[in-house]
């Protein structure tokens, strides 16, 4: 028995999509949460259009009415250290507009 894979990162098959729709999960965000498609290392690059087209066929929806799921950072697999910063070295005071609060205000998440 062969499998038709729509999302190779998470091993989600076309049969899984059909099962999801049959259980009442039609919306692409619901299907994402139910099957896990689009949640692997490629974050939907390979599958989101394929799944959206399949959902349009399975539910009879017009393609233009099917939205993608929300795109969130990072856009590509990224080591966590790219999101870490050394607060002593990089305060980004220029981005805050003014740094009058620096030192006086309690530490925020940004500075922690």
């Amino acid at each position: 028995m062969s499998k038709i894979v729509v999302c190779r990162c998470e091993d989600v098959t076309l049969a899984d999509l059909e099962h999801s729709v049959a259980r009442g999960y039609h919306d692409i965000e619901e299907v994402k949460r139910y099957t896990g498609f689009g949640t692997g290392p490629c974050q939907g690059k390979e599958c989101v259009a394929v799944v959206a087209c399949a959902l349009a066929r399975l539910t009879g929806a017009a393609p233009a009415t099917v939205p993608p799921f929300t795109s969130r950072p990072p856009l590509a697999p990224t080591p966590l250290r790219w999101f870490v910063r050394d607060p002593a070295a990089h305060r980004f005071a220029d981005d805050r507009g003014d740094d009058a609060d620096d030192g006086a205000a309690p530490a925020t998440d940004e500075e922690a």
């Binding site: 993608p68 795109s71 856009l75």
Partner: protein
């Protein structure tokens, strides 16, 4: 292993005969090269103790240690591959072993041991990247035919331009297309330099933060550190992703994106198979035809079949044949899937641009007007990210949109 300088680990592994690299998350099906452009999860390896790195995005260097992952004892023979046989019809993890509370607890413990990809890094890498801020008139994201043309046109119009490309080598789809190739990509890159634009390869836009002050900031993982880019005008030229078509066992090793096969042939001079079956969507017949001819000229036997004629592929650890709905079997040692590339619109979506699902043009394309304006005032887009165009039309659009972006950024 021998490799060329600057060559990707994936190309070097393929050329030296390595085939299966890892196993999949749930069914432990064999996984390996597919897109050769960093957009799938096929070629994840452990490199120098760091898990889950894309082999196609790692440049070869002396002494680099590469291991397969997610398999025991090895990716070629993995005992957990049995899961695939036991759940031949699929597995719904929501209802699996939920009948008894005790059984469910045990099942959870087992599954948590088995799930996940790779194992933790072998060493700490606590060094935070250098951070630099850059401000330009026009920032072009992507250096394929559209992005290179846009960057050159914007710079010639007098704008201060930065063009970013995530691949190890700039050129995008030109490097996967025998009608264009390395010489055409290098000429387009030279033109960008001659026009006075900045171009950084190996620089991946990892996020756009619109809430950041003064029009938002693009975070870019560049070879020498993190860039925080601000621009008066943004031009998304991120192209399209190679995707798969739907037929039985379409995830088998040896089923590769046609663009992956094209990149191996055109950029790396590696012929990926001896008997190649090209499975094609009619929307990309011109590319499929050009690739088939080039593969044949390089010495392979090539057969082209329409995607909707294919029932399934045969073979387990590597593809052996394509079986058609008619029952006919085409023996082969490689399947090149030519599907319409899916517009790489995640970045524009983070930027707030409207997209629409347009199946004949590959997926969620960015909505643009004739000048490349998206639905966000300072953001333009060109090339395949606006719906599949192909390299020539993408370059023409890029030149037009680059000039518009420059005129608006430097009135």
């Amino acid at each position: 292993m021998r490799a060329f300088e600057g060559e990707s680990v994936a190309a070097a592994l393929f050329a030296s005969g390595t085939r299966v690299l890892a196993r999949s998350l749930k069914y432990h099906r064999p996984r390996t090269f597919f897109c050769m452009s960093g957009h799938c999860s096929g070629c994840l390896v452990r490199a120098d103790g760091v898990p889950n790195l894309r082999a196609c995005q790692i440049p070869c260097r002396p002494g680099l240690e590469i291991q397969g992952q997610n398999a025991y004892p090895s990716p070629d023979f993995d005992i957990l591959g049995a899961v695939d046989f036991f759940f031949a019809g699929g597995m719904d993890h929501h209802t699996l072993m939920t009948g008894s509370r005790l059984l469910n607890k045990v099942a959870n413990k087992v599954v948590r041991q088995l799930s996940g990809l790779g194992t933790l890094p072998g060493h700490d890498d606590a060094v935070a990247p250098e951070v630099r801020s850059i401000e330009v008139d026009v920032c072009v994201i992507g250096a394929g035919p559209a992005g290179l043309a846009a960057a050159a046109a914007a710079a010639r119009a007098g704008a201060h331009v930065l063009c970013l490309d995530e691949q190890l080598r700039a050129g995008g789809s030109l490097l996967t297309d025998p009608r264009h190739g390395v010489a055409a990509a290098d000429a387009a890159v030279r033109d960008v330099h001659d026009a006075g634009a900045g171009l950084i390869a190996g620089a991946c836009a990892i996020a756009f933060y619109p809430e950041d002050a003064a029009g938002g900031v693009l975070a870019v993982a560049a070879p020498d550190g993190l860039l925080r880019v601000r621009a008066r005008r943004w031009v998304w030229a991120s192209g399209g992703y190679p995707v798969n078509l739907l037929f039985g066992d379409n995830d088998r090793p040896g089923v590769m994106a046609a663009r992956g096969v094209g990149r191996l042939l055109v950029q790396h001079r590696v012929l990926a198979g001896g008997r190649i079956c090209v499975v094609e969507d009619p929307g990309v017949a011109a590319y499929a035809g050009a690739l088939a001819a080039a593969l044949h000229a390089a010495g392979a036997e090539v057969e082209r079949v329409a995607a909707d004629a294919v029932e399934r592929v045969r073979g387990r650890s590597w593809v052996k044949a394509v079986q058609l709905r008619t029952g006919k079997k085409i023996d082969c040692d490689l399947v090149a899937v030519a599907a319409v590339p899916s517009p790489a619109s995640e970045g524009p979506r983070q930027h707030g641009c409207a997209v629409t699902l347009d199946p004949p043009r590959g997926g969620f394309r960015v909505v643009v007007d004739d000048d490349g304006h998206t639905t966000v005032a300072d953001v333009l887009a060109c090339g395949d990210v606006t719906g599949h165009l192909g390299p020539d039309a993408a370059a023409a659009m890029g030149a037009r949109v680059g000039a518009v972006a420059a005129a608006e950024a430097c009135p």
